[in-house]
Structures are given as C-alpha cells and as structure tokens.
C-alpha cells in the first residue's frame, strides 16, 4: 500500500489523478495521518518550483525568430499565389543547395564532356565494329529494390516530404511520374515498418510496395 501511495502522491499533488486514485489517496491519508508530512513536503516542492519560475519576458527570443522569418522567403506559404507543385519545389530545393560559384565551371566541364563524347561517337560510327551488337545488349544497371511507391497529397510541403524520408531512412529513387508516383528505396529488412509509417503520415495519399522501378520510355 505504501508503494502505491508513493507512486500516486506526486500526481495527487499536481492534480492529475483520476477520481478513483484520488479517492484512494484520500483514504490512505485518513488512515495514515503521519503521511500528511509527505504530502506537505511535495506541496512545498511544487510551490517552490512554481514560485521560482524565471522572471523573463514572454517575448524572450522573439526578436531573433521574427528576424529569421523576415529574412526567409516563403513563396509556398503565400496565400494568394498558386502554390508550385512538389516537383518544382524539390527542384528549387536541390538548386538551392548547389553552390552557385560552382555552376559556371560545372557547365564548362559538362560541355567539354559532350564535345569529347561527340568526337568518339563520330569516330566509332565511321568504323566497322564487331562488338557493337554485344554492347547493345549489355544489361543496364538496375536499381536494387524493393521500393515504396508513394503518392503525396496535393498540399504536401517539400519540407514535410524530406522529413518523412529522413524518418524512414529512405532514399528517393524516382518520380514524380505522370500520376504523381514517387519511388523511395528502402532496405528489405525495414520496408514493412517504413510502409506503415508512410501510410500513417498525414501528407500521404497512398503507398504500395513495388520491387522494381517502372520501365523508362
């Protein structure tokens, strides 16, 4: 009985016990008047902690947050403008994490690769090549499955999608397709738990397991 009293007493003091437990503690206190000291001790503790609350303005830290809010641009939160699609928002996100100074050298590098490849292809086309048929049938690299095919709700926000991917430790393997299908790669051992978590998410319309990505046109 004493053990139960000890367990219930803190919640008796902070008034969160249900009626039954509260009545039980009341009865115990009547039967054990010495326990009133324990009750008083907890009440003193509670009063002290309430009284010792730090004297701080309700606006503590607010200026910092408002400065961050003003500094950020939130096109997807603008009430009037039509919100961009998920694909556009993800493209914007990936563009935003690309270091801008690298863009020009990267573009130059990409152009150089295209030029070199063009020369090689032209060279090959002018020569008979017995192995070309074999090369044409070389198996393509296939992403190892399984995958979750996920359809997000129209109002799903990019930040929430990213958060969900992090939670399930999934990696984006493809999408969105014409029907808004996204493909998320998950290790076999975790796919059931991940599917359950995705299904329970408020930003998801549907989820299904698939073992391969759809064929590319």
């Amino acid at each position: 009985m004493k053990d139960r009293f000890d367990e219930l007493l803190p919640f008796y003091v902070n008034d969160t016990l249900d009626e039954t437990d509260r009545a039980w503690v009341d009865a115990y206190l009547r039967e054990h008047p010495k326990s009133a000291a324990e009750l008083q001790w907890y009440r003193t503790l509670q009063e002290t902690m309430q009284r010792d609350a730090p004297a701080v303005s309700a606006e503590v830290g607010l200026d910092k947050v408002m400065a961050r809010i003003r500094a950020e641009s939130k096109p997807s939160r603008a009430p009037v403008r039509a919100t961009p699609g998920i694909g556009e928002r993800l493209r914007e996100f990936f563009a935003s994490i690309t270091p801008q100074p690298l863009l020009k050298p990267a573009l130059a590098g990409a152009l150089a690769v295209v030029v070199v490849q063009g020369i090689v292809i032209a060279n090959l086309a002018t020569k008979p090549d017995d192995s070309s048929e074999i090369r044409a049938h070389r198996p393509t690299v296939v992403d190892p499955g399984p995958f979750l095919k996920v359809n997000f709700k129209a109002d799903a926000r990019e930040a929430d999608i990213r958060m969900l991917l992090v939670e399930i430790e999934g990696t984006l393997a493809g999408g969105p397709g014409q029907l808004g299908d996204w493909y998320v790669r998950i290790p076999e051992s975790r796919i059931t738990a991940a599917a359950d978590k995705v299904k329970a998410s408020a930003i998801v319309d549907g989820v299904a397991r698939v073992d391969a990505l759809p064929a590319r046109p």
Binding site: L45, M49, L62, R157
Partner: protein, 195 residues
C-alpha cells in the same frame, strides 16, 4: 490556451500570419524557457533553444495534430534540442556530487519529511533540484512545474510509466538527502531527528 485555440492559431500561421505566430509564441515561451533553463542552467542557450523550437512551429505548423497538449508536444521538440546541445558537453560534475553525498546518508531517516516540510527552505529546494541528475530534474520539473500527468511525462521522456515512477522515487530520495545535508551543515536541525 487550450488545444482548440492553438489549432486555430496554427491554421493562421499556415497562412503566414505573423500576428498569430506572435500570439502563440508569447503564450508558450515562458514555460518553455523555464523548462530549458532548468535543464541547461544557461540563460543565453535557453533563449536560443526557445527561439529555435518555436521557429519550427512557424516552419511546419501542421506537424501538430492535437493528439497531445500543445505544451507537451512543444517540450518534446525543445527536449531534442537540449539533448543535441548536451552531446557536445561533458557531464556536469555537480550531479556526481549529489550522488556522492546521497550515499553517505541514511536513505530514509525518521522525521525527514517533517523537517523538510516545516523548514520551508525554498532556496535549499532550488539548490538541490538543480543538483539532481538531468533525467530526475526533468521529471520533477514536468510533474511539479508543468503539472503533467504520468502518461504525458512518460511520453516526453520517452520511457515507460513505471520508469517515471522510479525516477520520481529516486529524485525524492536524493532531494530529501540533499536538504538534510544542508540543514545539518547549517545546524538548523540534527540529522534524522524529528523537530
């Protein structure tokens, strides 16, 4: 502020209503600050974490779905940030100190509660609460400052309800021993004897 009011404000925040965000911020910032400060004892860092926590609400107001009290949910976010902060810090030597002298004292000396209740030493209570191990201190704060029910404390601390009860029991023992020690040092009452 109850959950229905909170959800209304969150709906406006979703529409980028800064006034609604200010209102929500001011309604919860003090309690959040008290929680973080109790954990970190660093006012500047506490302010930073309060701001970060409520900024998350601005960024993703729809994450709160009303399944718990908003303050409980908010403390859960702040708690993660406190834990992140701790990962870069060494354990506080004060906590070991409490454990040390707790062992030197009788665990349940007669008359202890009477002494504590009658002495009304709020400064002593504050000092001893601050010296508790972080998990115990958090538990005491959630119960006696936030006024949370057992299930909510368990949810915030991510532990079974039985563990909450155990933490409260041990926290009480440590507090009692710490206060006894303080009284004995100051000669206000002999240890273990009812006043």
């Amino acid at each position: 502020m109850d959950n229905s009011q909170v959800l209304r404000l969150l709906g406006r925040i979703e529409q980028a209503d800064q006034g609604a965000f200010r209102e929500l911020y001011c309604a919860f910032s003090r309690k959040l600050y008290a929680y973080v400060l109790r954990q970190l004892s660093d006012p500047a860092q506490a302010e930073e974490i309060v701001a970060d926590t409520l900024y998350e609400v601005w960024k993703a107001p729809a994450r709160f779905r009303g399944e718990s009290q908003f303050s409980t949910w908010l403390i859960g976010i702040a708690r993660n940030k406190v834990l992140m902060h701790w990962r870069g810090r060494k354990p506080d030597a004060d906590h070991d100190d409490v454990a040390d002298f707790a062992d030197q004292l009788a665990s349940d000396a007669p008359g202890a509660f009477e002494q504590m209740a009658q002495s009304q030493r709020s400064d002593g209570v504050r000092t001893c609460v601050d010296k508790l191990k972080a998990d115990f201190r958090e538990c005491i704060h959630l119960v006696f400052y936030e006024g949370m029910a057992l299930a909510d404390v368990a949810r915030v601390q991510q532990i079974p309800e039985g563990t909450v009860k155990t933490r409260l029991f041990h926290a009480r023992q440590k507090l009692k021993q710490c206060l006894q020690r303080m009284l004995a040092r100051e000669g206000e009452a002999p240890l273990g004897e009812p006043t």
